[in-house]
């Protein structure tokens, strides 16, 4: 599929393999544990401050659901409003088209560099790489994005793309790379966060003052007024959104809100869910262009890139409600340990596990829906109530069906599931399997437990003992002590619900 550029990284290993490598990275484990733990506690504290938190979540979910249902109409209204306010709207079906549009727009200005506001949409389409191919340099100005860009790295978190880096690593990167991109790091740079921020500030300032073109994403866009919103913490976004002459915003089509007043709910939910703050320091809103104030040329690129296809899936479409707060990443026990790179996508964590396979097609990311224990912490944290576990199991079914359709022979797993299904379809077969299992277990168990086993069993038994199955199953015990009936000692007179007549009925009704 074209246009899946950075939604999945080319050649990325399947999640279990990538995770194994990531888990061995001691420094990253410590960085992630500290960072996710801190942000988790902050989020819980500020969410608890609002008495109507659950009500806000409900309202946000309802707005998103109904907006997605009439997405086409809201987008046309948005186009109309932005155009009326002096902006230009472009429609991009996929990453390649979006990149082409942005590249042409930059080339038309005659400039060869742009400053960038942190944006997931431009990460998704691989815009920086596309611009570089056209000889245009894109400077990331968000502190964490800057760290990623200078480190020739990949983002590992939606909100804090350099979350996997500790401050000593950041110092090394700044010292090593800043000079090649502009103003070098100051002499004697320490790893004190204040010093690091100052180094970034000095490095970026000259770029802000020089830039004629900025590229941003968008957190929201109001269809009724044509107002676009960017929410950020550092002020670098505000610089990009106000100083240059031309502003190009790339926005996923699902970001549209019907009305400006809908922001009420989302601007309460987003900062609390993402950074654990009551309010984010900078909220920039602009409506088209304003004479002699800010950029005089505004282009809004509306990006599909798999979203319309996702919208067609009744269960999966709720992933499009995502406001990119990354609360689900921070509470996810899997993400906390593996970090984001293991997901092989710009969208990591639980939301990535449900979004990525839908944007690129399940066959391209079949291991992601399985990268979860279904513990449900993500669903509880999600400010727009995306039922991530529900979508995960939905996509697992799609992954299995896709594999079934693509292969002539069933996988070993499919055979095992089929066998288990046959046993579990009949209490008699289950009882027989239990007797067989208890007998077999006695051969390998010691002191009632089964230790490490070879081959395919090692995945489980390499680190865990397993109790030997009981000599007498509960159903066998019941029959021995309480008789043949379903009621104890046959105290009720009604006949036993015969399993055979049951299955016959079932067969006939079909």
């Amino acid at each position: 599929m074209s246009g899946a550029d950075n939604v999945i990284w080319l050649g990325a290993p399947a999640f279990p393999d990538a995770a194994r490598t990531a888990l061995a990275d001691t420094r990253q484990r410590a960085n992630l544990r500290r960072a996710t733990g801190t942000i988790r506690d902050k989020r819980l504290a500020v969410a608890a401050e609002l008495e109507d938190w659950e009500e806000l979540r409900e309202r946000a979910a309802a707005v998103k659901r109904s907006t997605l249902r009439h997405l086409d109409q809201h987008l046309l209204r948005l186009e109309q409003a932005v155009t009326a306010a002096g902006g230009t709207v472009h429609w991009a079906a996929d990453a390649a088209e979006a990149n082409r549009i942005v590249t042409n727009l930059v080339q038309a200005t005659g400039e060869s560099e742009v400053v960038k506001v942190k944006s997931m949409a431009t990460q998704e389409i691989g815009l920086n790489e596309a611009l570089a191919e056209a000889g245009i340099r894109a400077y990331e100005t968000d502190l964490a994005e800057l760290i990623v860009q200078l480190g020739n790295d990949r983002p590992s978190h939606i909100l804090v793309p350099a979350i996997h880096r500790g401050r000593s690593e950041i110092r090394e990167i700044f010292q090593r790379e800043m000079g090649a991109w502009g103003k070098p790091a100051p002499e004697g740079l320490t790893d004190d966060p204040r010093d690091l921020a100052e180094a970034a500030r000095l490095h970026l300032r000259e770029k802000f003052l020089r830039a004629k073109v900025a590229v941003s994403g968008a957190n929201f866009a109001a269809a009724d007024t044509g107002t676009v919103v960017v929410v950020e913490s550092e002020g670098n976004g505000r610089m990009c959104l106000t100083l240059p002459e031309t502003l190009i915003t790339v926005m996923g089509i699902e970001k549209v809100l019907p009305s400006f007043t809908d922001l009420d709910v989302f601007l309460q939910l987003l900062p609390r869910s993402s950074t654990g703050e009551r309010m984010n320091p900078y909220t920039s809103l602009w409506t088209g262009v304003t004479e002699d104030d800010g950029p005089q040329y505004f282009h809004l690129v509306l990006l599909d890139n798999g979203r319309t296809a996702t919208l067609a899936d009744e269960v999966g479409r709720q992933a499009l409600s995502c406001i990119r707060c990354s609360a689900c990443l921070n509470v996810c026990p899997v993400y906390e340990r593996t970090g984001g790179h293991a997901y092989g996508s710009v969208y990591p964590g639980p939301i990535g596990a449900v979004l990525t396979p839908q944007l690129v097609g399940i066959e391209q990311a079949a291991s992601l829906p399985f990268a979860s224990t279904l513990c449900g912490a993500c669903y509880d944290a999600c400010p727009v109530k995306i039922n991530i576990p529900e979508v995960l199991v939905h996509l697992r079914a799609e992954a299995v069906e896709a594999k079934r359709a693509a292969r002539l022979l069933p996988t070993p797993e499919a055979l095992a599931m089929k066998a288990a299904g046959a046993v579990l379809a009949s209490p008699r077969r289950l009882a027989a399997a239990q007797r067989l299992g208890a007998f077999g277990a006695r051969l390998v168990a010691r002191d009632g437990r089964i230790g490490a086993l070879p081959g395919p069993f090692a995945r489980w038994s390499g680190t865990r003992d397993t109790p030997a199955p009981a000599r007498e199953s509960l159903r066998a015990w019941w029959r021995r002590t309480r008789g043949d009936g379903d009621t104890p000692q046959g105290s009720r007179t009604r006949g036993r619900p015969g399993e055979n007549s049951r299955t016959t009925e079932e067969g006939e009704r079909r």
Binding site: F15, P16, A19, R20, L23, T338, F370, A371, S372, T373, L374, C375, G376, A377, Y379, D380, V393, R396, A397, E398, V400, E401, E413, M417, K418, A420, G421, L424, A425, P427, L430, R449, G451, R459, W460, T463, R464, D465, P467, A470, E472, S473, L474, R475, W477, W478, R479, R482, D486, T487, P488, S491, R492, R496, P497, G498, E499, R502, E506, R509
Partner: protein
């Protein structure tokens, strides 16, 4: 009220003592428990691993076997969650209208043990005696699918002689996740290690939970390292009395 025990295939095979404990407990509280022998499995493993068509016969069997009961009690949070949240999904997607209706009637009558005791029977002190240091792990599906809240802890606090200690970071997943433990063994182990560390920090003799599957995972690790910490299903602590001290 006719009460049926849904033991779950896993407990039936691996932990019949948990099923006997449920029966002992409910009979001690003056109730008759029936064990429909045509029961097998809720289909959770198939469903959660993506084998939905294969889940259908189990969903159908469950509805047929348990339809005639007023209450179905099960000593598993995740199996109760499977029935209550997902049987309707399977019935709607692969079954027929009659099955969907049957699931709609039966699923709400399925209660995890602590819900059944506290909400349906209205008891928290079940007259148990268990003179040991115990820590409780609230399994994810009990916590976040069923929302059992502090019901298990209220039941445990009422147990005579118990020394109930709080598990640090209790609400974090243990890393089992059914076939997740096989598909992602490394991540599963990383989560298991942290859960074991917290359990050991409590100095508990027993780790208690409402799901033997999670306990098999954490207990398997505790056993492999010969920590001397045992695992016990909630039902077995609640069924223990002064007459039969462990």
């Amino acid at each position: 009220m006719r009460i049926a025990l849904f033991i779950t295939c896993f407990n039936d095979t691996m932990f019949p003592s948990t099923g006997r404990a449920v029966i002992t407990l409910l009979e001690r509280l003056g109730h008759t428990v029936e064990f429909p022998q045509a029961q097998t499995c809720c289909g959770q493993m198939h469903f959660n691993t993506g084998y939905r068509p294969e889940t259908l016969p189990m969903v159908r069997r469950f509805a047929e076997v348990f339809e005639e009961y007023d209450a179905v009690v099960t000593p598993s949070g995740s199996c109760a969650g499977m029935v209550r949240d997902y049987h309707a999904v399977v019935a709607d997607q692969y079954g027929d209208a009659a099955l969907s209706e049957a699931v709609g009637r039966v699923a709400p009558r399925v209660h995890e043990l602590s819900e059944f005791l506290v909400d349906v029977l209205g008891v928290t002190d079940v007259g148990a005696y268990f003179p040991h240091r115990v820590t409780y792990h609230p399994t994810c599906h009990s916590l976040r699918m069923l929302r059992v809240g502090d019901r298990p802890l209220r039941l445990l606090r009422a147990v005579k002689g118990i020394d109930l200690v709080e598990l640090p970071d209790a609400e974090s997943c243990c890393g089992f996740g059914g076939t997740f433990a096989l598909k992602n063994p490394d991540v599963s182990n990383a989560m298991l290690a942290d859960k074991m560390r917290h359990v050991l920090d409590t100095g508990a003799e027993y780790l208690c939970a409402g799901d033997n599957s999670c306990l098999t995972h954490v207990g398997g690790g505790l056993s492999r390292l010969r920590t001397g910490v045992g695992t016990l299903h909630l039902a077995e602590i609640l069924a223990a009395t002064e007459g039969g001290v462990r």
